[in-house]
């Protein structure tokens, strides 16, 4: 090889290899990075997030931190910018423990901190899954949410609730600034259950109050639970409900309709329209929606209307539609059977979507949210045949079906292009003429519900199956 060729090749390969080198910047050697963890033992629980907290630092600059829990499929690398170099970093990383892990399991969280010079250190943190993160459970006996205190009969406010917590209760607190209540009960021995029962006196003026109940547990990382109860103290009933369920029935398991809200109100004269689906139907009037107490209107031994949770039910003798009037102040009620004259939506099961109105046949389905298969499209309401209601063979004014609710629901019962339609507004009212009232949202536990749309009453009843 002559000299020229040699020089050429030398130059060529020098350029080639120079060109192939990585362009990564070189950093001078430096000390190891440091890590300070906030705790060496982290409590976690299945199906719950925990936080990994640590302060990372390096005299020159951090390159990355790697977080590993191989058993829980965690292998996360957080890379840091190097322009400018980062010399400290507050690590705050949340990770959710898979639901299928056992509460007795424990793992090691491995942190590997690397700096730009290539120095790396490891730091282990223990992870326990036996953490207790549930706030103390407060079960209200009285008053219930939305309770109505009729001042004319009593100005006493009995407060009765039970608190439960697995890791033990530290204290409970009852507060209501408007009533000057601030009751703190510090418990000794961290009992797992505690019952609070005390009666307060209300001023005689009508007002609304918020009772705040707080409970704190004794876990290493304490948990606190709070419950707000709205109470109405009034000289008049703002609403009366008709309840056809036996006493003791949980009145909050339905989505809509139980007990039934009144139809008309003039002063304290309330009027209901009601359909008794059997002979000898037993009903009560309630002064509040969620409970039989404190105001439950039934009959005394002599057949007069009384406000007493021990009263007997009013019996509607035969199946059919009734107009029922009641005055909770004068304790007078009347029951009148009647024959409806509103439009009967017959044969809805054979409904037909058709552009030509003449060929169209009404169907009744639902458009809305929180209902499996439903959205706000009436075309969807048509194609989701599972949402279609059928005629109740025993009552031409009722359309019935079954829906699966997925959470808080709202909806409008509808046919093609909202004709016909019944918008479900507040208080279970399914009205064909909603006016300015928008659709109301109804919290509901996920599950299958029985649906009754009563076109005569313009009410919907959606009750857990």
């Amino acid at each position: 090889m002559n000299k020229l060729s040699f020089l050429f090749l030398l130059t060529f390969f020098t350029i080639l290899f120079t060109g192939c080198q990585e362009n990564e910047a070189d950093f001078p050697s430096s000390d190891n990075p440091t890590v300070v963890v906030s705790t060496n033992e982290i409590y976690g629980a299945p199906n719950r997030k925990f936080e990994i907290k640590a302060t990372l630092a390096d005299d020159l600059g951090l390159k990355n931190v790697r977080i590993q829990i191989p058993e829980l499929n965690l292998d996360k690398v957080i890379n840091f910018a190097t322009d400018p170099l980062l010399t400290s970093y507050d690590l705050s990383y949340f990770f959710e423990v898979p639901a299928n892990r056992g509460a007795s399991e424990g793992f090691v969280i491995k942190l590997t901190i690397t700096d730009v010079s290539g120095n790396a250190i490891d730091q282990n943190i223990n992870l326990r899954l036996d953490g207790e993160f549930n706030a103390p459970a407060i079960s209200m006996i009285t008053p219930k949410e939305g309770a109505v205190i009729l001042l004319s009969s009593s100005n006493k406010l009995p407060v009765n609730f039970v608190v439960n917590d697995d890791s033990g209760i530290d204290y409970i607190q009852v507060k209501c600034a408007a009533l000057g209540i601030n009751e703190m009960v510090q418990l000794t021995g961290a009992p797992q259950s505690y019952t609070f029962n005390k009666t307060y006196t209300l001023p005689v003026t009508a007002a609304q109050y918020v009772l705040t109940i707080t409970a704190k547990d004794k876990f290493a990382i304490p948990n606190m639970g709070t419950l707000n109860i709205n109470i109405v103290a009034t000289n008049e009933y703002p609403a009366i409900y008709l309840c056809d369920q036996p006493k003791g029935t949980n009145l909050t398991t339905d989505a809509v309709g139980v007990p039934m809200y009144f139809h008309e109100k003039v002063g304290q004269d309330f009027e209901f329209k009601y359909y008794a689906d059997t002979d000898n139907k037993q009903i009560y009037f309630l002064g509040q929606e969620a409970d039989f107490a404190p105001h439950c209107f039934g009959l005394n031994a002599s057949g007069n209307l009384i406000d007493d949770v021990t009263s007997s039910a009013i019996v509607l003798p035969t199946k059919g539609y009734y107009k029922i009037k009641v005055n909770p102040s004068t304790l007078v009620y009347t029951v009148t059977k009647y024959t409806p004259s509103s439009k009967v939506w017959a044969d809805v099961a054979n409904g037909l979507w058709h552009d030509n109105e003449a060929l169209r046949k009404p169907f009744v389905s639902i458009a809305g949210g929180g209902i499996q298969g439903a959205n706000w499209d009436t075309w969807n309401a048509w194609i989701q045949t599972g949402l279609h209601l059928a005629n109740n063979p025993n009552n031409p004014y009722q359309l019935v079906g079954e829906y699966t609710l997925t959470g808080t629901m709202e909806g409008t019962f509808t046919g093609q292009w909202w004709s016909p339609s019944w918008r479900l507004i507040k208080n279970g009212i399914a009205t064909m003429s909603p006016g300015a009232n928008g659709n109301a949202k109804y919290p509901a536990a996920p599950g299958v519900y029985k649906v009754i749309l009563d076109t005569e009453l313009e009410r919907a009843f959606i009750t857990k199956k």
């Binding site: 499929n73 965690l74 292998d75 957080i78 705050s92 990383y93 949340f94 037909l352 979507w353 030509n356």
Partner: protein, 1010 residues
Amino acid sequence: MKYKFIGLLIAILCSSAAFAQITVKGTVKDKTAIPIPGVNVFVKGTQTSVSTDFDGKYAIVVPNKEAQIEFSFMGFVTQTIKVDQKTVVDVNLTEDNQTLEEVVVVGYATVKKKDVTSSIASVKGKDLQTMTVGNVTESLQGKVAGVQITGAGGPGAQPRVLIRGISTINLSTDPLYVVDGIPMGTSINFLSNNEIESMDVLKDASASAIYGSRASNGVILITTKKGKVGKPKFTVDLSTGYQIMEKPYDMANAENYATILNNAYTNSGYSEYLPNAEQYRGKTTDWWGAGINKASSVTNTSVGVTGGSEKNTYAISLNYYNSDSFYDVGGWKRVTARIANDFKFTDKFSAGVTLNPRYETWGSPGNWADFVKIDPITPIYKPASQLNGTENEYSIYARSPSYVWNPVATVSRYDDYTDQYNLNSNGYLQYEPIKGLIIRTQGSIEVGNRVNSKFTPDFVIDAAHEKAEINTIERKASTNSDWTWQTTATYSKAFAQKHNASFMIGSTMEEYNGNDVKGYGEGVPNNSDSMRELNAATKNYKSEGNSWSNSLMSYISRFSYNYDSKYYLTTSFRRDGSSKFMSNNKWANFPAASVSWRISNEDFMMSENSIFNNLTFRAGWGKVGNQNLPASVYQSNIGQGNYVIGGEVVDTSYPSTMANRDIKWETVEDISFGLDFGLWKNKLSGSLEYYQKKTNDMLFKKQFPTYSGFPGYSTIWTNVGSMQSSGIDLLLSYKDTKGDFSYGVDVTFTTVNVEMLSLSTEGERLYGAGNRTLTVKGEVPGYFYGYVADGLFQNQTELNAHTDEHGTKLQPYAKAGDIRFKDVNGDGKLDDKDRTKIGSPWADYNVGLNLNFAYKNFDLVANFYSSIGNDLVNQNISDLYNGISLTNKVSGLDQMAWHGEGTTNYVPRLSKDDNNENYSKFSSLYVEDGSFVRMKNLQLGYSFYNKFGLDKLRISLSGQNLWTWTKYTGIDPEVGGGDTNKDDGVKGSGFGGWNYPVLPTILMGINVAF
């Protein structure tokens, strides 16, 4: 007596000389055995010469048997033959493909190829006629460096032709076509390739500026066949064959479809959609077989005659083209005639007239994708149990739950056809009052009528989903009448032997007029063919109509000069006044200049002339424009919409577009450098060119500022923004002959680099194709803009690692098997800001390879075309792989899609919900390498000469588009621009979907000459 003696002596001498002389006769023909009249037959070393007659025959007296006869004719290789003992010398002249004496059309003039100073590429008609195509530009693909042609499938579809890339974003990118000197718009669908003598592509502005405001996309000059002196020569050219339409995807059968959907449902937590998939085994509906023909016929036929005398030549041809669609209905037919007559009344006065009547008819369903997408379980027809006997013939088809309308039913209802009739008359008068001065005036009239008739029958396949409750009838007739008139005076003179100059001035006028009328009605009593008339409609009559007109008036000039055929200068100037321009900018000027240096003619190169036959350097500059402005540019329009006035919603009118009085054309200024070379007797020749063109005053549609008072959605066109294209065109050509074997290789190489230099405001982002492309300063226009699909999550560990620095999941709904989208900006969130450039529709380069071989009477032609480095969006991916819809999927998708760690990193898991938005997010999942190499044509021919009573009979077998290499998994890698109606012509480029593919075609051809 003395005089008698001298006379006798002379007579004796003459007679002895006469005894030595030989009379040689013969016929001169071309390679295809067509006699060539006018060939110069010359006895070398003497003054004796004759010309061949109409039949190519000659007779010449040569002094002795040692004499050499030279046969020469422009465009053919000169041949010299020694007489020897022969008294009959028949000669076949071969065409000289590289002759620099060849004439090139340059716009309002012709020049010899050697004198061309601009970037002009020429293709001969015979090279375009090797393929059977509806639009001749498809045959041009790969044959001209700098011209990118994207084929379009479908009968009558028009390929996209880009000359040196693009120079506009919002206007048309089509070049201007000029046929026999008459501008014919931006389509030449009306031309048969058998009518064409040659095509000249004006690539740079120095060449095309003579066409001014319509030349920014380049100009293609087409010269049709003209008559030649000689006795009538008849030609018959027939090419017929079949286009092959294969099913583009192997789709799932009924059982596999059920399995795929069941997987999608169960993966999303639902119960199976079609339980017991095995029950569908053997119950697959063959939709494709029921509605798509695997082979559809294509025929191209021409019958022609040419001939004439010195005073009058004529060329008459009748051309027929038919391309059936691959449905049972529809296609495209074209019948054209061309009658050209040229007259030479005196040496000074000549004239010509050409008539070109044309008829086209077309129409074809467009739902072939539905034959692929519809579910394979639904039968074609409703079962008898669902029929009650009252349905009409269009209502007996079954409805698919996939929401794809029954495609067999759709085709059966199809009735949407267009007929077009045109007559073009083109005539000229030419007068040469003094030597060198030619005054020529040329005019043309084009009248046309297009009638579109459409009938949609009533039917009810499904009362809710698939029906037309009332039939409709529609007919639209458009008429156009256009005229052009151009007059030029050209004076050419050579002086002082070495100075050659030519000066041309002229003017042109053009007017284009049109009107249309449309009638519509509903409720025709029944669907029978005889009732499909507007008069039969019973309700909802509607009628519409409009008329339009635009005109152009121009002054043109060109000056050409060369010194000793070494140094060339050409300048041109055009001044356009267009009715499309507003009064503030009525006239536009388009200057150009070019120079060339014919180095091979320099004295110092004479010693190298055994190697260099031609070496020329060229440089050119020019300005051209684009006046294809949308009507809304110069019109103020009123729109209708709802407005809140005084708290009430009012249906009212509003100004939707406003004319801009200052609006003008887009201007393209370009420079071009080129080197032409021919080596070793032009065996190796070619050209290398570099160009750079910059568009200024680009047209963009802008909203008004809020303070103007105009509503937010009213717009005005404005001249803002600029862009630049640059690139290299390379043509290499090698030709040689070895005995009976001759061959030629042409390679074309094209690069185009396009960059936006500025937009209307700094930092402006122009979205296209439904926000899937972006155009910004410093980048190529219309690049694909979306999320980066970084493979699939293979396991829980990968899912857990895809978080921000605090552990918040970037894709909270993702499961193993879903796409991992890249957090491009690293902000710990996956949102709109993570969209980035994920591909470009523009090719790095295009290469054409054209081969031809001949051995004795056999000939073989092969053409290849490739596009390298471009990306394509395969929009079909969602249709084929997405479990959210009930349409059919590709066969075996249950195994192709992710179904466990390591099974695939490409096709996401099947899911009914697609909560991770694997398919609804536009990402690099859809972007594929769009490079391809396609064998455009392979043709083998055999010719018989002077057999069967014919001058020539050639039979050929050819295959078009038989082989394509590509990694693109869509229908066809030849994907053009987007929807021009949405201003996506450029910004929506490269979106492949269910586009009608360029079909493989097998053809047989017969060419007869007698």
